[in-house]
Symmetry: C2
Subunit: 201 residues, 2 copies
DNA sequence: CATTCTGTAGACCAGTCGGTCTAGCTACGC
DNA sequence: GCGTAGCTAGACCGACTGGTCTACAGAATG
């Protein structure tokens, strides 16, 4: 598997994943656990087993560029879950994806729950990061809205409901982390699904 | 107005508020804007117009103690809003308090929205802060549940609904900050109130 | 072989971090 | 007056921050 384009993988160091991927994975894990400002580049580097030179080679924009990449990746992941769901109704899809998220929360000992919470405070100090977060939310809401409309819900209502569900997931994840329990999150998911189902009015 | 106990106010510096209060107010503002890790002690000191010695006199525990104090203060504030509300039903109370929060969000240019988001990532590095956040959520949920029970809602359902409302407020505030718009938050509040009202089933 | 390009490796930097320490001021008890 | 406690004031500290820089290893191209 080539690292990039025509460049064959380095047989010495790239055992499993290339350096860029390792750095991104490490950053994802740490940012969601400690928050953007709570993580130092050295933490990322240590976890990724990479030197600083590699980091700035793959991410010339430094920490901020890594942050944006992580936000994008999270968004892509959730959107991917939505897309991959074969559930018949939107309500069923939310229940299914929500359960997948709940299990992730459990698997990580309630450490990496909140979706973008970790990045939220950055708008003032870093417009790029703030925009990335806003875009991620907008995409999730948009995707959900589209599904609801396809179900037959009026556009205006669908938009509100989609926004509502996203809020619920975010808030639920946040509180799950605070309380060290997924129970609130599961409750939120259940209610959100219910709301998309019965409330097609 | 004496600063503390029998100690008369310092005529030179304590014009409006004593130093401890100023430090706390500054920390509150900055933490909610940039997050716990995004704020340095020097930032707080500059905004509060206080020297470092005063900070460590009033908060021997340093930054962490300030963080805990800020979380407590936020919780006290919201609980106070609940208590002060003269609304007849719980639903009306939520609508009223939610509107007050929405106005605060607007007044601060969507900068200090999320309730505890800023502190959430700290559980791993600081148990005290994590516990303070968890306690704050528990208190809010408890207070809301008590109101709902007083309204005649069964205890189990009231607990779920209270938890649900808190999640919604938190998620709504988070997304309001991300999108730089209170509209999602107002929507969340409306839905939350509705849910407490019609769903007494 | 020589050059070049991709990427690794880590020493190094100025600036900032949270935190400590001593000095001094002011108001009160005596 | 004197001593002491409450509090202000800020110099100072080692650790660490994000970021830059040079050196170099290896595969690709000629």
């Amino acid at each position: 598997m080539p690292t990039r384009k025509t460049f064959a993988s380095n047989p010495a160091q790239n055992d499993a994943a290339d350096t860029r991927t390792r750095i991104l994975a490490a950053a994802l894990k740490l940012f969601r656990k400690h928050g953007y400002h709570g993580v130092g580049l050295n933490d990322i580097l240590e976890l990724a087993q990479a030197p600083k030179g590699s980091l700035y080679h793959h991410f010339p924009g430094g920490k901020e560029e890594i942050g944006v990449a992580v936000v994008d990746q999270i968004a892509k992941g959730i959107l991917g879950l939505f897309a991959a769901s074969r559930a018949r109704s939107t309500a069923a899809m939310i229940a299914q994806v929500g359960e997948q998220m709940a299990q992730t929360i459990e698997r990580t000992n309630h450490e990496l729950c909140a979706l973008y919470t970790a990045f939220l405070a950055e708008r003032s100090s870093s417009p790029d990061l703030g925009n990335a977060v806003a875009k991620a939310y907008a995409e999730m809401t948009g995707s959900l809205k589209a599904r609801l409309v396809a179900d037959g819900m009026p556009a205006k209502l669908a938009k509100d409901r989609a926004s509502f569900v996203v809020m619920l997931l975010e808030g639920g994840a946040t509180i799950a982390q605070a309380q060290q329990s997924v129970a609130p999150f599961r409750l939120a998911v259940k209610q959100a699904a219910l709301l998309c189902d019965v409330a097609l009015k």
